[in-house]
């Protein structure tokens, strides 16, 4: 402590940041160039501008007019602020060491800066962004920097949620730069992505699901050159889950609307419910369609399998089977069908592996007469809605399942009733 007083007298121009007594030397001691400007707030809310000249995870070397000794609060980000106390005998003139008393991040507190906070101040991510964009064409540099800084900013916000990470890829090895160090990235996939990125020197983005299927990661790989690149990784599991929830809510709204306008006869069901629908009762007949000639063949098989019925009902069932199979053939290139009976209900089920009916088209495709995306009369669904008693529809990117229920009172019993 005497040393600083002596130094102030003997070498007033010597810079504190160059002095080993100022902030403990070591790998974590970092001199910021240029200094980062912050604001110190005193106990009576009096504010002093300050410049961070150097830091480690426990101390700041500040250039400030704020009186020393004294306790201050330094705000670094919205949810990150640090309580510091000036050390009078470390430093000279308006440059002093300030001990970190307490780091407040959101609800948490700590006695020292975390690696991320330290690196945030030490400017690593900023450097990374500049390095990333340096090799780009000039007109793109600012745009990319802006976007990446926004990403990094986001990743720093995401730090609070503990789900983001920035890494540097150096010829096959990753170096953690900032963000959540223990983010459980599928490193094999990340390495594959970065290999492609540096080999082809182009930006790549991939969404990867962890091996156990529990986590979803959004990975952005940015090349620096043929060996090195930057990797931004985000855990988007929660975002995806939120999207799914929204999709489920949307489907629920559709379900209710469609059930309402069809008088509760057309149900949009989820995969699980459809499993049940397609397995009830006993099988009467089944088949596949891959070309137009399979459709009359399916009708023939259907007629043979049906119980003895009133002719109009037989016609209705074979017509609906035809319409459903025609749709599967037109929109999905084919599919399979089966007929099942349980009690007095015959259920026909047509299943395809096509691209599904989009949510936005669902209402029109099922309810609107003469609506067709494939240049047909577009009344197949109208006919099915008219003849079937109940309809169950499950559609998605991996295919469509349609089940139609027909009440069948056997012809002989019908005569007895009359």
């Amino acid at each position: 402590m005497r040393m600083c007083l002596e130094c102030a007298e003997k070498n007033p121009d010597r810079l504190c940041v160059e002095c080993k007594y100022f902030i403990q030397p070591g790998p974590l001691r970092r001199v910021l160039s240029p200094p980062v400007q912050v604001l110190l707030e005193g106990e009576r809310r009096n504010q002093y501008p300050a410049y961070i000249l150097a830091l480690n995870t426990r101390e700041f070397g500040l250039k400030t007019e704020a009186p020393v000794p004294g306790q201050y609060v330094m705000r670094l980000q919205e949810s990150l602020w640090v309580e510091v106390a000036g050390v009078p005998f470390k430093g000279k003139n308006d440059v002093h060491v300030f001990d970190i008393l307490c780091v407040h991040r959101g609800q948490e507190t700590a006695r020292r800066l975390s690696t991320e906070e330290y690196q945030l101040l030490a400017g690593n991510t900023g450097e990374l962004v500049v390095e990333i964009s340096r090799h780009l064409p000039e007109h793109l540099q600012n745009l990319v920097r802006e976007k990446l800084l926004a990403e990094v900013e986001k990743s720093e916000l995401i730090n609070a949620l503990r789900v983001g990470k920035v890494m540097k890829y150096e010829g096959g090895r990753f170096r953690h730069l900032s963000g959540q160090a223990d983010l459980d990235l599928p490193m094999e996939e990340a390495e594959k992505l970065m290999r492609q990125v540096v080999n082809q020197v182009e930006h790549r983005r991939e969404v990867i699901v962890s091996a156990d299927g529990q986590k979803v990661f959004d990975l952005h790989g940015v090349p620096f050159d043929h060996r090195n690149g930057g990797l931004l990784a985000f855990d988007i599991t929660e975002v995806i889950e939120k999207e799914r929830r929204m999709h489920r809510q949307e489907m629920q709204a559709y379900r209710e609307a469609i059930a309402a306008v069809t008088g509760g006869r057309l149900y949009l069901v989820n995969g699980e419910e459809m499993e049940k629908v397609v397995s009830e009762g006993t099988e009467l007949a089944k088949g596949e369609v891959g070309q137009t000639r399979d459709i009359p063949e399916a009708r023939r098989a259907m007629r043979e399998a049906l119980p003895v019925l009133d002719g109009r009902r037989r016609h209705a069932i074979t017509l609906c089977l035809t319409e459903a199979l025609t749709n599967a053939l037109k929109h999905a290139g084919g599919g399979c069908w089966q007929a099942r009976q349980s009690g007095d209900t015959v259920r026909i089920i047509v299943q395809d592996r096509g691209p599904g009916i989009k949510n936005s088209e669902l209402a029109r495709a099922t309810l609107m007469q003469h609506y067709s995306t494939k240049n047909s009369l577009g009344c197949g669904f109208t006919l099915m809605l008219y003849y079937a008693d109940y309809l169950y529809l499950n559609t998605g990117p991996s295919g469509t399942v349609l089940a139609l229920d027909f009440g069948v009172v056997p012809a002989d019993r019908l005569k007895q009733d009359q």
Binding site: I295, L319, T326, Q369, H370, C379, G380, L383
Partner: protein
């Protein structure tokens, strides 16, 4: 087994196409082919022997009528069976297709 039999009878400027069987995605091409060969005349499509028509079959009949009208001709649908007539009515084609339910006056 032939699913659709298409018979063509021409007399005094009237061409009658008599269909027997099922009109659907598999068989519409047969009807289109026959109609494509018919010269200028009034076209009558006799559905009395048709036991099954689906939306693809109806779309084909509507297309043929449009095509025939563009050529300046007339097309009539004759004698649909009840199940077929019901389907036509359900999709509103009974109003779009010109029909004549009375038996045709000409002998075949």
């Amino acid at each position: 087994m032939l699913l659709l039999k298409v018979g063509v009878y021409v007399a005094r400027g009237v061409c009658r196409v008599v269909l027997n069987g099922e009109l659907d995605m598999e068989t519409v091409a047969q009807l289109q082919e026959v109609v494509g060969k018919v010269g200028e005349c009034t076209l009558e499509v006799d559905l009395s022997g048709v036991t099954f028509v689906d939306s693809t079959g109806l779309k084909c009949l509507l297309d043929i009528q449009d095509y025939w009208r563009q050529k300046g001709g007339q097309m009539l649908i004759l004698k649909s069976q009840p199940d077929v007539a019901e389907v036509m009515q359900l999709v509103g084609l009974d109003r779009l297709l010109t029909q004549n339910s009375a038996p045709a006056e000409e002998e075949r």
